[in-house]
């Protein structure tokens, strides 16, 4: 019986120790670090291979260092609040399993790039939302509202289905090399947000949005680096959506 007692039970997930290297900063500073200065700190946590990075962060916050700051809400990839740079790629901490990251090495966690850091993994999202507001993300129509719902065929809906899935996590925008260096660029998400309305048969504001995106800081800044498509946790083909907007602008057809 000793042999069976030692081997793990069927289906049991192995526990292990993982190291997380987190890029931290405190607006009020610490004894060793100036206010706002970024520094690395390592934590070791006991975790299962099927745990997510978010679980590991929770363990640190709840059991080791309550001052660690990060955003999260739903913990299931719906709200889009916990995008961060994990092992140099933008991902949602709540959708990234430890076993997919090579837990033998330290897992590197940084705030998303290109937006001002407020504390630890929390960044100021305002520039990101400001770009989104620029493209007027609401239904624009003319004439009086119909007495019933605005109807649309499945094909018409399919046209912009991909971009309706956006959860505004900013993973795409903060993975874009043009956004990192150029504070003027709207960023991929704003174009995804515009795409969702431009190609919606019920909306009539297409050309107003296209005019905004034809601007200096609009779609023409995109160099098709494809970082955004790779980063999107919702699997949206971001670069393709941007190209469709460019196509609408060059051909004048939607």
């Amino acid at each position: 019986m000793t042999a069976t007692a030692e081997s793990p039970a069927v289906g049991e997930v192995q526990a292990m120790t993982v190291t997380l290297r987190i890029l931290r900063s405190k607006p009020e500073g610490t004894d060793e670090h100036k206010p706002g200065e970024q520094y690395w700190q390592e934590f070791q946590v006991e975790a299962h291979a099927t745990d997510r990075v978010l679980d590991a962060l929770h363990k640190i916050k709840w059991e080791q260092d309550g001052s660690l700051a990060f955003r999260r809400s739903c913990a299931h990839g719906v709200c889009g609040s916990d995008a961060m740079r994990i092992n140099a790629r933008n991902r949602l901490a709540c959708k990234t399993l430890l076993k997919d990251l090579n837990p033998a090495k330290p897992i590197i966690v940084e705030p998303i790039k290109g937006l001002p850091v407020e504390k630890d993994l929390i960044v100021d999202m305002e520039p990101f939302f400001a770009s989104y507001r620029e493209i007027m993300p609401f239904l624009m129509t003319t004439g009086s509202a119909p007495a019933r719902e605005r109807r649309q065929s499945p094909e018409e809906r399919q046209r912009f289905d991909d971009t309706t899935k956006c959860i505004m996590c900013a993973a795409c925008t903060t993975s874009c090399p043009v956004f990192w260096t150029d504070g003027q660029y709207f960023g991929p998400q704003a174009i995804v947000g515009a795409h969702r309305f431009i190609f919606d048969s019920r909306d009539e504001g297409q050309w107003d949005r296209l005019e905004v995106l034809n601007d200096k800081a609009g779609v023409w800044k995109c160099r098709t680096a494809f970082n955004c498509t790779e980063a999107c946790p919702r699997g949206i083909e971001v670069t393709k959506a941007i190209s469709e907007v460019k196509h609408a602008l060059t051909t004048g057809e939607i």
Partner: protein, 156 residues
């Protein structure tokens, strides 16, 4: 929180909808983008043909000397070919550099300075290169005959 809570902080303002019909006219950035898309493939064809003619046909790389170049530039086709290659390559590359400067030069004076230097370099090279192509003399008077293209004998 009482009814007289000190301050009401309104949320950020959303842009007014402005429904206007009327199409969007292509702006400078769009023309720049179109130019890059069009000049890119043209350059590929121009350069690959250029390399093929120079390196793969005839005696290959060893055929290239003064006489070879002089012989090519005696034909208007190759004069125009090389001119197009020069102009498109400089404009295509220069426009790419312009975008890079936009990305990385954050202070207005630095941006102006770099854009200026870039413009001078692009125009200067196009002008100098075109001068060479169009005012080229294949048969300089006091040169060794063996270095010149064969048709120079008739000229002398």
């Amino acid at each position: 929180m009482t009814a007289s809570s000190p301050e009401f902080v309104p949320g950020p303002k959303i842009k007014e909808p402005r429904i206007r019909s009327g199409r969007v006219r292509p702006g400078a950035e769009q023309w720049s983008w179109r130019f890059m898309r069009i000049s890119g493939p043209i350059l590929v064809i121009l350069i690959l043909t250029h390399l093929f003619i120079n390196l793969m046909t005839g005696d290959g790389v060893s055929q290239i000397d003064f006489a070879f170049v002089a012989g090519k530039w005696a034909a208007p086709l190759w004069q125009w070919w090389d001119f197009l290659m020069l102009a498109l390559a400089m404009l295509h590359g220069g426009n790419g550099m312009r975008l890079l400067i936009n990305d990385y030069a954050h202070t207005p004076w630095l941006r102006k300075l770099l854009h200026g230097a870039l413009g001078v370099a692009v125009l200067g090279i196009i002008v100098l290169g075109s001068l060479v192509i169009w005012t080229f003399d294949p048969c300089p008077v006091d040169a060794d005959m063996s270095l010149l293209p064969s048709f120079c004998e008739d000229v002398r």
